[in-house]
């Protein structure tokens, strides 16, 4: 019996050593340790072993089973490691990927959101108003003379109802002040419309961000500090900003703002980026007259407007404004 055990054990270990795959391993396990396996059959022979030899034979059988089981485990581990190694061997990491549908935000949304984020951080809150406007909010309230060219139906889209498509987001200044007592600190991103033929630098519908801050004692210094901060946040802390005197009916004094920017391979150039100014007192008077409340007399404030298409064009060196409305994915995909 002892010899038989030794022989089965030796056979088993030698067989296991030669196994090449998981299937062979499982076959060997059944063949040796299964219900009819060679070692199991020997174990069943214990019945016939004389009583005094049983402890010794039993111990031998247990040793054999432990050794065989361990050998099977070792072999299994070795085989698994070989399989794992084979699984990554020869993988070509230079292969292109499979594809997922790509998407992204429109460049105008990207610049708008960036500007809005900066301005909200500076304590401006969003406001809004209709795009189909009346003359009062678009022109009268904003101190536009009756014979101003913008009121002409060759420059502005009118409707048969007498209403018009707002020519500037400044309408929201009047809309907000009508509804709200000072202080007012708002921005309004939105569409505006002018009756321009569409070409490489003009759209008849475009996007602006309007800003307005009204309170007691708002100064030109505040206007300057606010817009310098905003533009440096937008274009980089080192960006030089300058204010050029200009004219708008609804602000006085008025300024155009330039930033000094450098395109690749070119000398830095002053580029006009926004218009701004101190709210013309006539605007406050118009609002107070319309509401019948004297909320805005004695207030001062500043307003500014910035074109989003222009911002995007400057930022990314876009030469033709029409690319922004054509929505060609080859164009859109560059901004993601």
């Amino acid at each position: 019996m002892k010899n038989q055990i030794a022989s089965v054990q030796a056979d088993a270990l030698s067989r296991i050593g030669g196994i090449a795959d998981m299937k062979g391993l499982e076959e060997a396990r059944v063949l040796i340790l299964g219900k009819k396996g060679t070692l199991t059959q020997l174990q069943q022979g214990m019945r016939n072993v004389p009583k005094e030899e049983k402890p010794a034979v039993g111990a031998l059988l247990n040793e054999a089973r432990t050794a065989i089981t361990a050998a099977l485990e070792d072999r299994k581990l070795a085989l698994q490691q070989a399989l794992d190694a084979a699984a990554v061997a020869g993988a070509d990491f230079t292969m292109p990927g499979a594809t997922l549908p790509m998407g992204g935000l429109h460049p105008i949304s990207i610049v708008r959101e960036e500007a809005v984020r900066i301005l909200r951080r500076m304590g401006f809150t969003l406001s809004d108003g209709p795009e189909i406007e009346d003359e009062w909010h678009c022109f009268d309230a904003l101190n536009t003379p009756d014979d101003h060219p913008a009121r002409n139906e060759k420059d502005t889209f009118y409707f048969d109802s007498g209403k018009l498509l707002r020519t500037q987001t400044s309408t929201v200044q009047a809309r907000t002040m009508e509804k709200q007592a000072p202080p007012v600190r708002i921005i309004c991103p939105g569409s505006a419309f002018r009756r321009d033929a569409i070409d490489a630098t003009h759209l008849s519908a475009f996007n602006q961000i309007e800003g307005l801050y009204v309170d007691k004692n708002v100064s030109v210094g505040d206007l300057k500090g606010t817009l310098e901060y905003f533009l440096k946040a937008l274009f980089g802390a080192e960006t030089a900003v300058r204010f050029r005197p200009h004219f708008f009916p609804f602000t006085e004094p008025s300024f155009e703002i330039d930033v000094l920017l450098q395109a690749a391979g070119q000398a830095p150039r002053w580029i006009e980026i926004a218009g701004c100014g101190m709210v013309n007192p006539a605007v406050f008077e118009n609002i107070d007259k319309e509401t019948g409340k004297q909320l805005y007399s004695g207030c001062t404030g500043f307003a500014f407007g910035i074109g989003l298409e222009r911002l995007a064009m400057i930022r990314w060196g876009i030469r033709d404004i029409r690319l922004l409305i054509e929505n060609d994915v080859r164009f859109l995909a560059q901004f993601q």
């Binding site: 499979a98 998407g103 889209f157 409707f159 321009d196 030109v220 050029r244 004094p253 859109l332």
Partner: protein
């Protein structure tokens, strides 16, 4: 407007000022410099040279190789492409090293392999007006080797954009006055002052009748007899040429010269062509007028014309002279008009007729009545000097309009011009509150400095208590804030320290809407959709109800006749109508991109749509909506998946589910009938109508260049936000496991999912926590299943919140559900 530096220098001392300094000075005075042209050459290296030999360059049809004598002792070889010269001509020659206007440096080089050591120049290459095409052929008497700069005057031309509030800057004298005011440089003599002080004026009497005094309240006419019409003296012609005008004859040139010198338009009639006195009247409706450009115009009653006893319209007041009454070579007596016209009328006329002139440009921006006599006197002086003749007195019709507010008129300072007929001009008076200046500048601008600035600009402190008289040329100074502007502008915003006051503001509903929309946009971008921005003005014909459910524009309500809003005067039919839906724009985007070979067509747009609520008689409303378009493949093809599946309706539905995952979304057949070709349904979210979905009509899609199934959804963003941002409490996770059971229903193919759901819900089984459609099987061939049947597999999950269910309990609950299905659905069997 073009300003010549040479011309300007005759009124102000600009010594030592570089071009760029000058440009900066103008810029910071609020005058936009749009361009700078350097005229002439400053370099010694452009000299007079004579062409000695000229032979064609081999293989070129226009190049010649020339040997030229530039006074260097030996001949110089230069290749030249011009055609207008011959051997013996003297021409300007730029030698290597010369820098021409525009920064162009001349170098030695080769043209067609032939050495070229310099350049023969045209006038324009030297920054001068071209007198002929090609090289500038110089007079033979010029000495070879002489630098061209010794006989060519250099000049710098500034192209300026003057803001509409500053018509006083639309002349050389006006610009000089402004520059002197802001820099303190010396202003030379006012060219109009002496002639105005000495000119005789007389009441016009019958010679001038003002029939439209609201448009033209002041009209003067000066008769100058015995003039000799001819070319202008060279200095005058040169000044006009330098700013881009073409000299015509001495009288016409002088009227133009005065306009660009003083800013006031003038007109000269041939006195022989006038009959009797002048009548300045409104045009008759439909009256015709032929301009000196020989164009005919039909007039209206808001136009003003200058006519005479014959009744004919001789000139369109303030805009342009007529063909018949102008000065010609045979004219001997002229009548010189200087008048004041109401700017609104001139603007109206000029714009309506599309007829603009240097005169109308100034009148419509506003001219000062104070300049009327000054311009007449100055022009008369120049005409007598240059054209001879004798001048009568200035005949004055009417009086200068009072531009000062009525309440200020009695205390206004009044200027007086003329002799027998006086012209009076009341100055604007402004009460300045220095405290306002302190608020505006944080008290950084000293009052003394402010007062100095105002005085330099021509204002006068009347009483030392803040009352200021404004100069007669400044029509824009009316109120205290106008004076503040002047002080800040001239003092310079750079000298006012930046401050940064801010206040705490409350978040508004617009802030929340913006945040929600941006989150949604990023979610859609992450799901493979491109955000687009399309035009809000679209073609009326693109609003086609058979394309999308556009007839049911949001808020869900059929579009009636007149609900679509059209602009009165579109630029083109393609951009004539405000979009009632984003669908037409998104379809156009898809069509554009499929043409570029895009296989995955997923786009979205957020923006306003517009409609009237009552056939054009109701309110115009604007709604913020989200439009989603899907067509083509699910992903782009790749080696890993060579033929990705096509988009179907369920994919759009999946996108909707991700937008508001917690909400109950139902697609219900539209109450309005939809054209049969388009499949469509209204979207209800939590039982509220929120938008619509559609599979677009296939034929229409093919017509638009989209030969595939196109899916579209439009949702009301405000409602979406309400649902998506409603407050909620997080649910706890279940403590006990649930048990699943599947059931396959063999049902008629026409049975809808909604009907099954309704039957499942009718079971009211408390242990049933969820169920889902797992599989749908049809066999159109009828082999495995009759063609009119389908097998739908649902999976059901049962759970008790308080204990683990036994198999028997689950089976019992499941049986109850299946029994209910059997009872509620006809013709059902289980497989």
């Amino acid at each position: 407007m073009n300003i010549s530096l040479n011309w300007l220098s005759s009124y102000i001392d600009l010594q030592g000022l570089g071009t760029q300094e000058m440009a900066d000075m103008l810029t910071f005075a609020g005058i936009e410099v749009e361009g700078i042209q350097e005229r002439g050459v400053t370099t010694e290296l452009v000299v007079v040279a004579q062409v000695v030999e000229k032979t064609p360059v081999e293989g070129s049809d226009h190049l010649n190789v020339c040997m030229v004598d530039a006074g260097e002792g030996s001949l110089r070889q230069i290749v030249c492409g011009a055609q207008n010269y011959k051997v013996g001509d003297k021409v300007p020659c730029a030698l290597p090293g010369a820098v021409l206007p525009g920064g162009w440096e001349i170098k030695e080089g080769k043209l067609r392999g032939v050495d070229s050591r310099g350049m023969l120049c045209s006038a324009s290459e030297l920054g001068l007006p071209d007198k002929e095409h090609g090289l500038w052929i110089l007079p033979q008497e010029y000495t070879i080797g002489t630098p061209v700069r010794s006989f060519v005057e250099t000049d710098t031309i500034f192209e300026l954009e003057i803001t509409p509030n500053r018509p006083d800057l639309l002349s050389h004298w006006g610009m000089a006055r402004e520059l002197a005011g802001i820099t303190g440089r010396t202003l030379k003599a006012d060219p109009a002052e002496a002639p105005t002080a000495t000119i005789e004026t007389q009441p016009a009497g019958d010679a001038i009748t003002l029939s439209a005094p609201d448009i033209c309240p002041l009209y003067t006419a000066t008769r100058i007899s015995g003039v000799k019409i001819g070319p202008s003296p060279e200095w005058l012609a040169n000044r006009l040429v330098s700013i881009g005008l073409r000299p015509i004859n001495n009288v016409v040139d002088i009227t133009n010269y005065c306009l660009f010198e003083l800013g006031h338009p003038l007109h000269a009639f041939d006195a022989a062509k006038l009959t009797g006195g002048l009548n300045i009247r409104r045009a008759a409706e439909g009256e015709s007028f032929t301009s000196l450009m020989e164009e005919e115009y039909s007039l209206k009653a808001d136009d003003v014309v200058i006519s005479d006893a014959s009744g004919a319209a001789l000139a369109l007041g303030g805009v342009m002279g007529g063909l018949e009454s102008g000065v010609t070579e045979t004219t001997t007596d002229i009548l010189l008009e200087s008048a004041w016209f109401n700017r609104s009328n001139i603007r109206f006329t000029s714009r309506r007729l599309g007829l603009g002139s240097d005169s109308s440009y100034r009148f419509e921006r506003g001219t000062s009545p104070w300049n009327v006599l000054r311009a007449a006197a100055r022009a008369t002086q120049l005409i007598l000097e240059c054209c001879g003749g004798t001048a009568g007195p200035v005949l004055v019709g009417g009086q200068a309009p009072c531009l000062v507010p009525e309440e200020n008129a009695p205390t206004a300072t009044v200027l007086e011009q003329g002799t027998q007929a006086k012209i009076y001009y009341a100055l604007d008076q402004v009460k300045l509150d220095w405290k306002e200046l302190d608020v505006m500048t944080n008290a950084s601008l000293p009052h003394m400095e402010g007062a100095r600035i105002l005085r330099h600009l021509g204002l006068r402190d009347v009483d030392g208590k803040g009352t200021w008289d404004c100069p007669p040329w400044r029509l824009d100074l009316k109120r205290s804030c106008d004076l503040l502007e002047e002080m800040v502008r001239v003092y310079g915003i750079d000298n006012i320290p930046a401050t940064n006051t801010a206040i705490f503001v409350e978040e508004s509903s617009h802030d929340r809407a913006n945040d929600y929309r941006m989150g949604l946009a990023r979610k859609l971008a992450g799901a493979g959709f491109w955000e687009v921005q399309t035009f809000k003005l679209i073609a009326a014909e693109s609003i086609d109800p058979t394309i999308a459910g556009v007839e049911n524009a949001l808020p869900i309500k059929p579009l009636m006749e007149g609900d679509v809003i059209r602009v009165s005067l579109p630029i083109s039919e393609d951009h004539s109508t405000l979009r009632p839906s984003l669908a037409p724009g998104l379809l156009a985007v898809a069509a554009r991109n499929i043409n570029q070979g895009m296989e995955v067509l997923r786009f979205f747009e957020m923006g306003r749509v517009f409609r009237n609520t009552g056939g054009g008689k109701g309110k115009d409303i604007e709604n913020e909506v989200l439009g989603i378009f899907m067509a083509g493949r699910l992903t782009p093809a790749s080696w890993a998946c060579t033929k990705p599946a096509e988009v179907h309706f369920e994919h759009l539905r999946a996108v909707l589910d991700t937008l508001v995952p917690k909400a109950d979304i139902a697609l219900v057949p539209s109450r309005q009938s939809r054209p049969a070709a388009a499949l469509g349904a209204d979207i209800q979210i939590n039982n509220q109508a929120c938008g619509y979905v559609a599979r677009l009509a296939l034929q229409k899609c093919r017509d638009l260049g989209l030969p595939l199934e196109c899916y579209y959804a439009e949702l009301d963003l405000r409602k979406l936000q309400q649902v998506a941002t409603a407050p909620f409490k997080a649910a706890e996770l279940p403590q006990f496991p649930g048990s699943g059971r599947d059931a396959t229903l063999d049902v008629p193919a026409s049975l809808t999912h909604a009907e099954v759901v309704k039957a499942i819900q009718a079971a009211k089984q408390k242990l049933l926590v969820s169920y889902a459609l797992k599989d749908v099987f049809c066999d159109p061939s009828g082999e495995k299943l009759p063609a009119d049947r389908k097998a739908v597999t649902y999976t059901f999950l049962y759970r008790d919140a308080k204990k683990t269910l036994t198999a028997q309990e689950v089976d019992a609950a499941h049986k109850q559900v299946l029994d209910t299905l059997t009872a509620k659905i006809n013709n059902l069997s289980f497989r």
